[in-house]
């Protein structure tokens, strides 16, 4: 359902007219009561309604935090998602893509394990997977809330594939599914849709073109502003191709690499019709950056891109930080942006 309020809200912030637009990347920390509820839900100790109620409570909390801090374009916080791929592939309580299921546990590092999804049959769209939560989040605020999806390449790369003869077949079928979800989000009124592709540079020589083709298949001809988040990995190897992705904005984890990506932008250029999402706080550290440090990062960025085209955000999702750390990291980001705007006389 598109409310008039939503439409107004979304039209307030666009790429025109504002400078150093602030946003977040996707996930936030789950409050303790929700972590507990998810564990109880997984053991059938509470029902789905109870879980949904608590997810909404936590979502509202994060919407209010972002509003209070004055962030421009909001995220809903992904309280309902365990993992960005598994959520679409069979996490309990979700609406999984047909042809996918969760497999057994595999270790990602240290003592961390996850249920790696399996593609076991032809992929088919199961109907809206993220629309209800987006609508709920958007109903809470006049500021625009981004629709949040995982891109086709990453969905396939981070799953086992027992069905398709090639990665290409799987990725292109997956793109049709993600496109169907994009269309539903747009129908519901979303103006900003972020399609995360953190695995995009896994095999730069072998199939980066496939990732680009999949993004085209996902977004071409659809009227919304698309962003993509690409984190870590060897961005330098894919940079010149990556900037051809058919999206309005690419975010990168600038802070984690001490703004080395600015050198790539200087050396190879950055398309004038694209915005750049600049990560200014490191999400892997507990320590909260000093405001001067964050301001300095923004200043360095503005030597390369005009403030109209620079969006300011944390390096990545904040779900691995605590609630307090997440809020502090967002706050120092917002404070730094305000200070720079004052300094430079920006609107």
């Amino acid at each position: 359902m598109v409310t008039e309020q939503t439409q107004q809200a979304n039209s307030k912030v666009g790429s025109a007219g504002t400078t150093l637009t602030t946003t977040a990347v996707g996930s936030f920390a789950r409050p303790a009561y929700l972590t507990k509820a998810r564990s109880e839900f997984s053991q059938d100790k509470i029902g789905v309604d109870e879980l949904r109620k608590l997810e909404r409570e936590a979502t509202e909390y994060w919407i209010r935090v972002q509003e209070k801090l004055g962030i421009d374009v909001l995220v809903h916080g992904e309280m309902e998602r365990g993992d960005m791929v598994a959520y679409f592939s069979g996490e309990k309580g979700g609406n999984p893509i047909k042809g996918m299921k969760l497999g057994g546990l595999v270790r990602s590092y240290g003592n961390r394990y996850y249920h790696k999804p399996i593609i076991f049959d032809k992929l088919e769209y199961p109907g809206p997977m993220t629309v209800e939560m987006w609508q709920y989040a958007q109903s809470l605020t006049e500021r625009p809330v981004k629709g949040m999806l995982t891109g086709a390449y990453t969905m396939v790369e981070w799953s086992f594939d027992e069905h398709y003869p090639s990665r290409r077949d799987a990725v292109l079928d997956m793109a049709k599914i993600i496109r169907a979800e994009v269309e539903e989000l747009v129908k519901a009124g979303a103006k900003f849709i972020q399609i995360d592709e953190p695995a995009i540079h896994t095999r730069p020589d072998e199939d980066f073109q496939l990732a680009i083709e999949a993004m085209h298949a996902t977004v071409d001809g659809i009227d919304a502003e698309f962003h993509t988040h690409i984190c870590y990995g060897e961005v330098e190897k894919v940079y010149t191709e990556m900037i051809k992705l058919p999206v309005k904005q690419i975010h990168l984890a600038f802070k984690n690499t001490d703004f080395a990506y600015l050198d790539l932008m200087r050396k190879y250029g950055y398309p004038e019709d694209k915005d750049i999402g600049v990560g200014v706080t490191d999400i892997h550290t507990r320590f909260i950056e000093d405001i001067e440090d964050v301001k300095n990062g923004i200043r360095r960025t503005l030597e390369v891109v005009p403030p109209e085209r620079a969006w300011i955000l944390p390096d990545c999702g904040l779900k691995t930080r605590t609630v307090e750390e997440s809020e502090q990291k967002l706050k120092v980001m917002v404070d730094a942006v305000a200070a720079i705007k004052t300094e430079m006389g920006l609107s």
Binding site: G104, L105, R107, Y109, N111, E157, D161, Y232
Partner: protein, 325 residues
Amino acid sequence: MQTTVVGNYPKIPNRPSPARYRNALNKRDRGEITNEDLAQVGDEVTVEVIQEQTDAGVDIVTDGQVRWDDDQTYVARNFKGVNIGGLQRYLDTNTYFRETEITGDVAFESPSLVRDWKFAQENSTRPVKAIVPGPYTLAAHSLDKHYNSREKLALAFAEALRGEIDALIDAGCKHIQVNDPVIVFNKDDYPVFKQAATRLLNGVSGAETGLYTWFSDCAGILGPMQDLPVDVIGLDLVWGKKNWDALADVKFEKKLGAGIVDARGTRLESPAEVAEAVERLARLMPAERLIVSPSCGLEYLPRETAFEKLKVMVEGARRAEGVPA
């Protein structure tokens, strides 16, 4: 013809079986149990995974590297000059390892692997192969703040790792596998790889030594690799399809660690598929020089799938030999 695994084995089973090692690590981190208690669970789980490999019919087993977080840090953390740094993505996977930071001269102090190997061998009816990280891979995955030279660092690691290998041989270990996969992604560095592997293994006697690679092929370097002082060369014949042609093109004189069962995919091969791959290899070299294995360590798979794959692998290998499984 023999069968083996390429090192690691999934540490925990799925529900309803208890995830004992994971739970024990969590308890240790919360201070509820001591490091000694954790080591005890590590031993028990090691016995369990040796038993699973044995039940599957594997000839040469490993301790499953149950206690290892990753290949990069388990041994190197005990070397002088090495600190443990941040998480890095492991090659083209969605798994991570901790980077080693090199802050001074790298040197061997005391063995990290002998106790584990002895314990595993005492608890196994099959020979237990010890796993040693490769010097080139350790160097390539380090943040070098000291040598400022991949070559110098790789040679320093080789020197230090030789201490581990000598200690393993003194302890009676008869099978040693060196994991050095990164060379397949950096073939231009072959001269450095060769020097490091030579320093690590030259003159080693008393054990069968192997150099294992995975995730891609050794096309272009497989010929020169015949000159390395090593008995077995391990190739990934699933993710490195070009290895098939490379094998046909070179005079392959070593034993072949033939990675023919996909350890990165859950689709279960049939024994017939395995047998066919083995027969194809047996046309290139005598079957007694084949050591059949998964394509890499099994930790990318859920535990139950890993076990099923090993059973199929052994059955297929026996079928190719004409021996009833």
